[in-house]
Amino acid sequence: MAKPNKILGIPRRNFYGIIVFALILSTVPALLRFNTYYVYLATDIILIASLVAAWNIIGGYAGQLDLAASAYMALGAVVTGNLLAFYGLTPWLGIPIGVLIALGVAVAVGYPTFRFGIKEVWYALLTAALVVILSRIYWLIYGSTETYLPTYEWSWFYLRFNRYEPFYYMLVVMLAIVLWINYRIRHSKLGYYLNAIREDELAAEALGIDVRRYKLYALMIYATLASIIGGIYVCITGVVGYRNFDPWLGITTAVMGIVGGLGSVEGAVMSGMILRTLEDYLRGTIGSQYPGSHLLVYGIILIVVGVLKPEGLASLIEYVKKRIPWLKS
């Protein structure tokens, strides 16, 4: 399958890009001198970046404004977390089970939704409602009690550590995989089809694209990735409850994707990293004096980007790329 100019089904350039990016990220904990706080912060940033990159598949490529990233992430998290807390099941099995359940929900929701041609604002609202529905269902079953995961000093089996480096490296690998899947899709029939669907659904269908089916594929891949990230997330925070289904996180994920520039995974990753860092910085500096001011700044950024530069960060990346000849293929 692999063509001479491709490695693992993606262009050489992208492949080496991912490797170099992962290598650079791998050195970050050492640069931070393994300061627990900074490593945790870095872990968190990578986690969000992976989530936004996963969202890019449904939001950027397929053009569906999905606000349910936190639903799939939380499904992965609560399944993995509860299985570990109540049955002592290793997350290595818990995460796949979480993925299956998230996939089930994605298909159960996505199939009729795409079948009935729900798109644009209605799709966005539907997915936002999905997060609330799942949260209430979880509440009806488990109530408001919270489950705390057992602590282990250093257990690869239970995926619980008293440091964040293992999670950091797991998430770097995860990010690399999500990036690879993004590139893999972009350079495959699926990617071409999703892009066509995003641009013009009717025209796409007239070119022989089974729009519903390809949207569902995109949703399934995205739900899978988000739930894996959720499974890792719960092992980091150690708390499980109905509040894992956080509607706001779903919206911020989409917002980061949009700021990044739709369809550009580089933009999505960059925007996830920058906005998450900025949020934490602003929270630490002005957020404690004036509650909410960091999110206010966030909102302003969003309005400015939406009004002035709808192409997002991606256009900036394109600009840089045009200036640096060796980045061109």
Binding site: M1, G9, I19, I185, S188, G238, H294
Partner: protein
Amino acid sequence: MPAILNLGISKTASIAIAIIVIVIIIGIAAYYATQQPAAPTTPTSPSPTTSPSPTPTKPKITEIKIGLIEPLTGTHAVFGQEAKQAAELIIDIINNELGGIKNLGGAKLKLVVADAGETPESAKLAAEKLIAEEHPPIILGAYISRLTAAVAEVTEREKVILIMDGLVDSLTEQGWKYVFRAAPKASAHGKSAVEFVMEMAKKKGLEIKTAVVMNEDSIFGHYVAQGAILKLKEYGVKILDHIEYPYDIADATPLVSKLKELNPDIVISVPYFHDAVLIAKTIKAMGFHPMFIAGAGACGYTDPESIKAAGEAVEWYTNTYSYNPARPTEWNKKIVEEFKKRYGKLPTEAAGIVFYSLMVVKEALEKAAEMYPDDPLNPDHLREAFLALDLNDNNSIAAQLYPTGRIKFAPNGDNLYAGTAIIQVINGEPHVVWPDPEPGIEPVFPRPDWKGGG
């Protein structure tokens, strides 16, 4: 979609995987390489001037950092902000009026603050940041249970004492070693509310046969309600229903309609702020008049903001508090006065817990200096010091600030003599009515608009 995600495992694929594996190995190797000399994993040293190592030369401790992790932003910022104000006040009092920690040669306390945000993740991040940058031996936080639990994971690992102001029962049931909680836990709030009502009924010769318990659906509300239910059962009161609802409901009419329909003698209500205003107004607007409505769990009904927002709708409501601002002890009066002077408002729950928790910290530091003069800030020594405390009104300021006037820790970290105060809204003002009423104040029981009983 076989062709779509064809993995195409080939020579190049194995190379790619190999590179990733190597990256990870390099990372881990680098980690251990830098770990050996640095070893910052046990930040027991409170400041650069001290060292926990058992060296014979006794280091002079001049400053002890006390961490405070509270939700300063987001939904729960109200509590966090007040706790922070209270902590700043108490630290000033300890440093200036009480002359620091006397047994440590007057060492001063220094408050270091971090924002727990709204999610367990941000709380954990805050704890990591505070410990990595400041190395405080003792941290106070984080009010909201899931944030507290997230912080406790970090403090346990780093062996930092965590004084919890999160009240949920399960926090002290996790087998954590370095946590203490002076404040009464959630179920104690529910119990106190019931005890108060039953005692009053007995005094007035009224009989309570039926009750409805309702609570907002957070984990805190849940535990408070459980405490109340257990106590009601003990008294043989029939519980007609237990209603749970989300605190951000738009409309309380269905809840109140249900109350009217069930028509219990008393209602034990565990609200949050938002729903308290709504419920009180709706009860008034719907004309529901039970014998008594007792709040439990320190939020809503009787705090100044709720009275301001709900007006006369909350008249005669009570609520349980982890702190009694009217307790007639010397130091309590003084601190309430200082707080009012500095911030122009009455201290409520969040501030009160911080008052006595920080004073307990001071007592524990004095004790530790006495018991382990060579290394008082060692976490295990500190723990022993906390467990050795037995505070009452006569021997400590901390106990003077506490509703029951006694503080002694059980091995799980809970206060053995935990209890709450009850505040009632009388003529639009909050007054402490139980266990020791304010001078000249009588609890109003039953509600004057109660039509039953004759």
